[in-house]
């Protein structure tokens, strides 16, 4: 099962020029969907949040279509099944919350402050607002910035391997 997801992801990543998708999801979001799924593998949640399915939430408007749901369907990380859902209000059951452009990021961030929820955004200043991971585009490729302090304040441990991939969070504001 994991292998199938992996190959989907690889397919998504490699099909950069010839991206033909039934849902007409832009290539950028196909990559981001895969990244969201992969972030889970490099993050440890505190013990009291470590039971039950791992829930990846998309706040507000869903830019992935069915893609994320399909990607996580039947998958498990650290022996925990993955679940994807779209929320319109801050939901404490979410382990990961992605706040796409246009979502009220600041509102969600305030509500989720200090709760063990991995916050992922794609807007400049997301980290300054207290977010943990922020997608950026670098040389046409999707990269990300990480605020490790914010994560540790929320009692999340982000793997050093992932931190290494993070671009310098210079533009905090």
């Amino acid at each position: 099962m994991a292998r199938r997801i992996g190959s989907i992801v690889v397919f998504l990543l490699c099909a950069g020029t010839a991206a033909v998708h039934p849902q007409e999801v832009p290539f950028e979001y196909q990559v981001k969907a895969a990244y969201l799924f992969n972030f889970v593998k490099f993050v440890e949640w505190p013990a009291d949040a470590s039971t039950g399915p791992l829930t990846i939430c998309v706040a507000g408007k869903n830019p992935f279509g069915d893609l994320l749901t399909a990607a996580v369907d039947g998958e498990a990380v650290h022996d925990r099944p993955l679940v994807a859902k779209v929320i319109s209000q801050p939901d404490p059951a979410c382990h990961v919350v992605f706040m796409p452009q246009g979502a009220a990021a600041a509102h969600y961030l305030k509500a989720l402050r200090d709760s063990p929820t991995l916050t992922v955004g794609e807007t400049p200043g997301f980290l300054a607002d207290g977010g943990m991971i922020n997608f950026i585009i670098e040389e046409g490729k999707v990269r990300f910035q990480i605020d490790a302090d914010a994560a540790s304040r929320a009692d999340l441990r982000i793997s050093s391997h992932l931190l290494r991939l993070a671009r310098a969070p210079g533009r905090r504001g």
């Binding site: 292998r3 992996g6 990543l13 990244y35 992969n38 593998k41 490099f42 290494r164 991939l165």
Partner: protein
């Protein structure tokens, strides 16, 4: 190229040291290098596995998020590891994701991740990259083994250097140590060579240390001592023999001088007939003296060959002594010597050969007379102890104590020069000693030194208490009374005489004719056989040594004939070869008897008479 075994020890030893140290060093170093190689490879293997594991661990995230830059950064950490040639990260579908390669090396990433291989040119390790136990790619790394070979080269060079050093050290120390072995051996070899070249057996090798080499050297020196001694003995023996031959020649010539001189005077008509008797007597005496010399020689040769024969019977030493004194008395009187005789037992009966015992006594007495200057004294004493002790003491020239040990050795004379004062062959005492010992006795000589006289003592153990037979009076070696001729002894006998030498033939013929026989005398075997055919002789007398065919041939051919043609004629061999073996050979060939030259004419006549009239077995051999 010289073979090793033929090399000088001087080269052999260093070569052996070299080969053994070299072999040991090469084996040890080879073993060490091999062990080092194995250790090195195992270390490199572990190091590479650890390295690959770390890089694979770190490469999970970049592979997952397709971050080639970070991937390349991770691989670039290998810059600090100069032997890592190539490192590659592959995605899970086998495409190269990131790579690192050492700029100066030509290695490239393989198209697909190769497996793990620990080869001889390089080590290659491939490990899967996983995230959450899910494979996300493969890490491949290749390490060159150039450093291993460089290390081996350095090791080999070090070994080679050490080898050269060891060889040098072995040569230096070996040369010193070898000296103790090689030097004595080389000296021994050069001594041996010098001896075989110069034949100088007085050369000796330097003994050196007490090890085996020293033992060999000492043994060789001892051997040389023995050889030198043996050579010295041989030289002395040769000298003795030369002296003896000179003496012999002199002694044989002296009587010849008288014989020839008087013979010529007899033939000259001017000699006063009154002197004839004197001349003939002198000739006969000298001839007998010569015959005695030859007897002595034969005695010595018999004794030397261990075949002396004694005719043992009862003998009276007192009578023998009387006879001997009577014989030497005229000579002693001529020198005005006084002979004191003290015979303590009479008769002094013993078992022995009277003739031989007289020879001994006469010898001692005549020596005493010979070596005592005029007006000296001689004491003769015979006394009874367990056996008989006879001593002859004189006031003569005596002997050097050093000569006492040699006095009984044959051919030894105190004065070996040709101008010496005293004649004789130097055999008398040697023969006397042998004869006394044959009788079970001993003989001793004593002298207080030159000019102080000498004493000879004979001890004979055998004693006969009561006479069983009367001992025959011994015959002194003196001029015999004129021959008695019985002209009828051989009357009617026909005798054949064979001798190539005319004088001998005529002598035999005359002798036999005088005794009344008819004689045919011929000079060869062929003539003899012809004469036998003409008239069968009653007795045959033949010389043995003749040219062409000798007496042995004659008797063989005669004995091969039937009795009617001479096969059974009694025959006597006459030979100048007077040894027992010659006599036995003659008898084995078919002669009934044999006579030695010079023979007594009367003896010949009686032997012929005996043979002519005997029908039984031939008489005992008559030996001079």
């Amino acid at each position: 190229m010289t073979r090793f075994r033929d090399l000088s020890i001087r080269h052999k030893l260093p070569l052996m040291t070299l080969v053994s140290t070299g072999a040991a060093l090469i084996l040890a170093s080879g073993g060490f290098l091999a062990w080092d190689l194995v250790q090195f490879r195992s270390g490199v293997r572990q190091d590479m596995r650890a390295q690959a594991a770390i890089i694979a661990e770190n490469s999970g995230a970049p592979l997952t998020f397709r971050d080639e830059r970070v991937g390349a950064d991770i691989l670039a950490g290998l810059r600090e590891r100069p032997h890592m040639e190539v490192a590659c990260l592959y995605t899970s579908d086998g495409a190269v994701f990131a790579s690192y390669r050492r700029p100066e090396r030509r290695a490239e990433c393989p198209d697909a991740p190769a497996g793990t291989r620990y080869g001889w040119d390089a080590f290659e390790v491939s490990v899967p990259v996983t995230v959450n136990a899910e494979p996300v790619g493969t890490f491949y790394i290749r390490r060159s083994l150039r450093d291993m070979y460089a290390r081996l080269r350095v090791g080999a060079a070090t070994v080679l250097g050490l080898l050269l050093l060891a060889i040098g050290a072995a040569f230096l120390t070996g040369a010193r140590m070898q000296k103790s072995i090689v030097t004595p051996l080389l000296q021994l070899a050069s001594t041996a060579r010098a001896i075989s070249e110069t034949r100088d057996y007085s050369l000796r090798a330097v003994p050196g240390p007490n090890d085996e080499v020293g033992i060999v050297v000492r043994a060789c020196n001892e051997m040389l001592d023995r050889i030198a001694e043996a050579l010295e003995r041989e030289r002395a023996a040769n000298r003795l023999k030369d002296e003896f031959l000179a003496t012999l020649s002199h002694e044989l010539r002296t009587p010849l001088n008288s014989i020839l001189g008087w013979s010529r005077m007899l033939r000259s008509s001017r000699l006063d007939p009154a002197w004839h008797e004197k001349a003939l007597e002198t000739i006969e005496r000298n001839a007998r003296a010569q015959a005695l010399l030859i007897e002595d020689l034969l005695d010595m040769s018999r004794i030397a060959s261990g075949k002396p024969r004694l005719q043992v019977r009862e003998a009276d030493l007192a009578a023998i002594l009387d006879a001997a004194i009577a014989v030497v008395q005229p000579g002693a009187a001529a020198k005005r010597l006084r002979i004191h005789v003290e015979i303590g037992v009479r008769p002094a009966l013993t078992r022995g050969d009277p003739g031989r015992l007289q020879q001994v006594v006469w010898n001692l007495l005549s020596n005493a007379v010979k070596f005592t200057p005029a007006e000296g004294q001689i004491w003769v004493r015979l006394e009874r102890e367990q056996g008989y002790r006879l001593s002859v003491r004189d006031s003569g020239v005596g002997m050097d104590p050093a000569f006492l040990t040699f006095v009984f050795q044959p051919f030894r004379q105190a004065d070996g020069t040709t101008t010496r004062e005293h004649g004789g062959l130097g055999l008398g005492l040697a023969i006397a000693k042998q004869l006394v010992e044959l009788h079970g006795g001993t003989i001793q000589a004593q002298s207080d030194g030159l000019g102080k006289g000498a004493t000879f003592e004979v001890y004979l153990p055998s004693v006969v208490e009561s006479p069983a037979e009367s001992p025959g009076p011994p015959n002194p070696p003196e001029v015999l009374p004129p021959m008695r001729v019985d002209p009828s002894l051989l009357r009617g006998l026909h005798v054949l005489v064979v001798d190539d030498e005319e004088d001998a033939r005529v002598l035999l013929e005359t002798t036999l004719t005088q005794h009344g026989a008819t004689v045919v005398a011929v000079a060869s075997v062929a003539d003899a056989l012809a004469a036998v055919d003409e008239r069968l002789p009653d007795v045959l007398l033949s010389d043995v040594g003749m040219p062409t065919e000798d007496g042995m041939d004659l008797i063989r051919r005669l004995r091969a004939r039937p009795r009617s043609r001479g096969g059974g004629v009694p025959a006597v061999a006459i030979t100048a070869y007077a040894s027992v073996a010659d006599g036995l050979a003659a008898e084995a060939a078919g002669y009934q008897s044999h006579l030695a030259k010079p023979f007594d004419p009367a003896e010949v006549a009686s032997l012929v008479a005996f043979l002519a009239h005997s029908t039984g077995s031939p008489p005992q051999a008559i030996v001079p």
